[in-house]
């Protein structure tokens, strides 16, 4: 009986020495797992309202015409030849154009009734192709 009594007297209190460690572990756990709502997106700088009109040679422009059904028509410079492409082809085409002409401007003309998502798909492809000169316009026919 004497042995039993001694044992229970020793392990009687809750060990508090490790409390701080537990608290710190929790702290570190939350610090590393917390995901903050971050600001993310496709950035672009709009032309200023007061900007003067700059005449751009037609051979430096490639038009991407975004239609309401999601089809994209490419029209190069002055030629009226049209090429219908899918979103996934745009990146390759744009890379090709940039390597041919570093001055090329991608003019994205979107139909007024086309969903915004389609325009973003085109813009996404252009930014993936690291196009620097992008112009966003409304496609007025």
């Amino acid at each position: 009986m004497a042995m039993l009594q001694r044992k229970s007297r020793v392990s009687d209190d809750i060990p508090t020495a490790s409390m701080a460690d537990i608290a710190f572990l929790l702290l570190i756990f939350f610090l590393t797992t917390t995901v903050f709502e971050e600001e993310k997106g496709l950035s672009i700088v709009l032309p200023e309202a007061a900007a003067e009109q700059v005449e751009v040679s037609q051979k430096n422009i490639i038009h991407f015409l975004v239609q309401p059904d999601g089809a994209v028509v490419i029209r190069r410079g002055e030629s009226q030849a049209e090429q219908v492409v899918a979103f996934s082809q745009i990146e390759g085409i744009m890379r090709q154009e940039i390597s041919n002409n570093a001055e090329i401007i991608a003019a994205v003309k979107t139909d007024p009734n086309a969903p915004y998502g389609h325009m973003i798909n085109v813009l996404d492809e252009l930014q993936k192709a690291s196009a620097q000169r992008i112009s966003l316009q409304l496609w007025e026919r």
């Binding site: 939350f30 993310k40 950035s43 007024p112 915004y116």
Partner: protein
Amino acid sequence: MAKKGGPFERKSKVEAEIPAASMADIAFLLLIFFMVSTTFRREQDRHLTFPRADATQKQDEKRKNILHVWIEPDGQVYINDRLVPMDMVADVVLPLYRDSDRRLLISIRGDRDTPYRFINSVTEQLREANAVRVFFHTDLESRLTRERR
């Protein structure tokens, strides 16, 4: 319960309370954690479906310099939880742009099904207010989900 005079009587007399000395430390740690990690929502969520994009990039700008412009599929524009008529957007943004020391970055948060004419009207208004640094809020899309589409 132990009988009076029994072998367990001594034990319960010594340690009957929960050690409370470290409680304060734990509480402080939690407090500090929440203080550091909490960012208050300045405006309510509008439950829009944002477009997805591979090239989505994190925007490095102070939170206070970012202005959210929400565009709903029916063309309604909300800024700071207020419905703003389309032709008033420039008037609302201009004072905010001046207050931000010309560093205002606009987050265009449009639903992916919004007809593009509404987005175009908003960007025209922003140009009028000189707030030309914008980004289109998108969700990151992995290549896998794109290929499935």
